[in-house]
């Protein structure tokens, strides 16, 4: 029944904003049902608002909050574990460094001790060698002086024999000795 009068052009109705009394005009501008629409909108919207405010939104907010808490808790736990791991690594590295230092100091000590021992041995050996050397030198000196003394005697005997052969007179031993000593000096 609607638009019987304007059936030829539906779009003309769009322009005919004011409605006639019995609601034959453009329905959205027809005030016949305005009150009813407003009342029903109020009823339904208030119910929707109440359900959203008191049931749906707190529940969804709770879900989101739980999840956020859970994630934050898990992250904190992961953080704590990581810190523990880091501490363990640091402790291990410290222990390693200490052990390495101790090994080095033991090696150094051993080296020092061995060196000291070797040095002591060498010193005793050198001292022994030096003593033997001086002994030998003393003996050489002794031999040398005794040899030299014998040289004088041989020279005297030789001189006395030569003099005897030359002049046929045997010189006194003291004279020959004096003369040889003088010549030798």
């Amino acid at each position: 029944m609607a638009g019987e009068t304007t059936a030829t052009a539906g779009h003309v109705q769009l322009m005919d904003i004011p409605a006639t009394e019995h609601g034959a005009g453009f329905p959205p501008f027809d005030p016949t049902h305005f009150v009813s629409q407003l009342v029903w909108l109020a009823i339904t919207f208030v119910i929707l608002y109440w359900v959203m405010k008191n049931v749906a939104l707190p529940r969804i907010a709770g879900i989101l909050e739980d999840r956020r808490d859970r994630i934050a808790g898990d992250l904190a736990e992961a953080d704590r574990l990581k810190r523990e791991t880091d501490e363990a690594i640091a402790a291990y590295e410290q222990a390693l460094a200490e052990a390495r230092g101790r090994a080095r100091s033991i090696a150094q000590d051993t080296r020092d001790k061995l060196k000291a021992e070797t040095d002591a041995k060498r010193e005793t050996a050198e001292a022994g060698i030096a003593a033997k050397l001086s002994d030998a030198e003393a003996r050489i000196g002794q031999i040398k002086s005794s040899a030299l003394a014998q040289v004088g005697e041989i020279a005297s005997e030789t001189s006395s024999a030569l003099v005897e052969a030359l002049i046929g007179v045997t010189p006194s031993k003291s004279e020959v000795d004096q003369a040889v000593k003088g010549a030798m000096n």
Partner: protein, 249 residues
């Protein structure tokens, strides 16, 4: 008559109710308001009923809507604006579900009624005005005097601001109403072409392919518009609420 694009907006009384001489009948529009509220409530309540730490698809969708609207409100009105969250969320869900219901053939589009969108817009504007005055007193009037405007310009700027404030409920309601109305009329007109052309014989049937394609494309567009208009309504609501919270811009 069946092709009348306006026919879909007619209100039919389903259960006549009259209180004190005023017609409060339960109409097809009322029915779809009730269905909208039932669908929105059922969606949010049942999808979140398992309270899963790992959400199901439906729960994910409910959480997504929650965080979407919460994000909109927080970014334009700040954390303080969250006190209006139930209202903003209800508006968003109501408009969105009503718009999407309108996409079903033979379903009534509640938001194609100017009185409905105007009432929703008035809910927003009255909330802004009443809360603004209750909280800031006359300081709320600073809304009409933007900071940093030279004193000489105030007599010019203030009336402009007042007019823009008063036109908000109109623009808010007309935008939603007109989008839904125009979209549904266009759809109906193109769909009507298909029927008319295909009745005109073989050539007409082939010719009907064009408006049919147009109808399919428009349907997709209308789904986008249904969401977009709910989004725009919500964003503007958030911005107006921000004025109530921080009137001195």
């Amino acid at each position: 008559m069946a092709n009348d694009p306006i026919h879909q907006f007619h209100i039919k009384t389903l259960v006549p109710i009259e209180v004190g001489g005023v017609d409060l009948s339960f109409t097809n529009a009322s029915l779809f308001m009730v269905l909208t509220v039932l669908a929105a409530s059922a969606f949010l309540i049942f999808s979140s009923s398992s309270r899963g730490l790992v959400p199901t698809r439906w729960q994910s969708l409910a959480e997504l809507s929650y965080e979407f609207v919460a994000g909109l409100l927080r970014s334009s009105a700040g954390t303080e604006g969250m006190r209006f969250f139930p209202l903003v969320f209800s508006l968003f869900m109501f408009v969105l579900v009503a718009n999407l219901f309108g996409m079903f053939p033979y379903f009534y589009t509640v938001t194609s009624q100017i009185i409905v969108t105007f009432a929703l817009a008035m809910v927003v504007i009255l909330t802004v005005t009443i809360y603004g005055f209750a909280r800031h007193g006359l300081h709320f009037l600073h809304l009409f005097v933007p900071a940093g405007v030279p004193a000489a310009l105030i007599p010019i700027v203030a009336p402009i601001e007042v007019i823009s404030f008063l036109s908000r409920p109109i623009s808010l309601s007309v935008r939603l109403f007109a989008n839904m109305l125009a979209g549904h009329i266009t759809l109906k007109v193109f769909a009507g072409f298909v029927v008319t052309l295909s009745a005109a014989g073989t050539v007409g049937i082939f010719g009907a392919v064009l408006p049919l394609g147009m109808t399919v494309a428009l349907t997709a567009l209308e789904f986008l518009v249904a969401f977009l208009q709910a989004y725009v309504f919500t964003v503007l609501t958030c911005m107006y609420l921000n004025d109530a919270l921080h009137p001195s811009h």
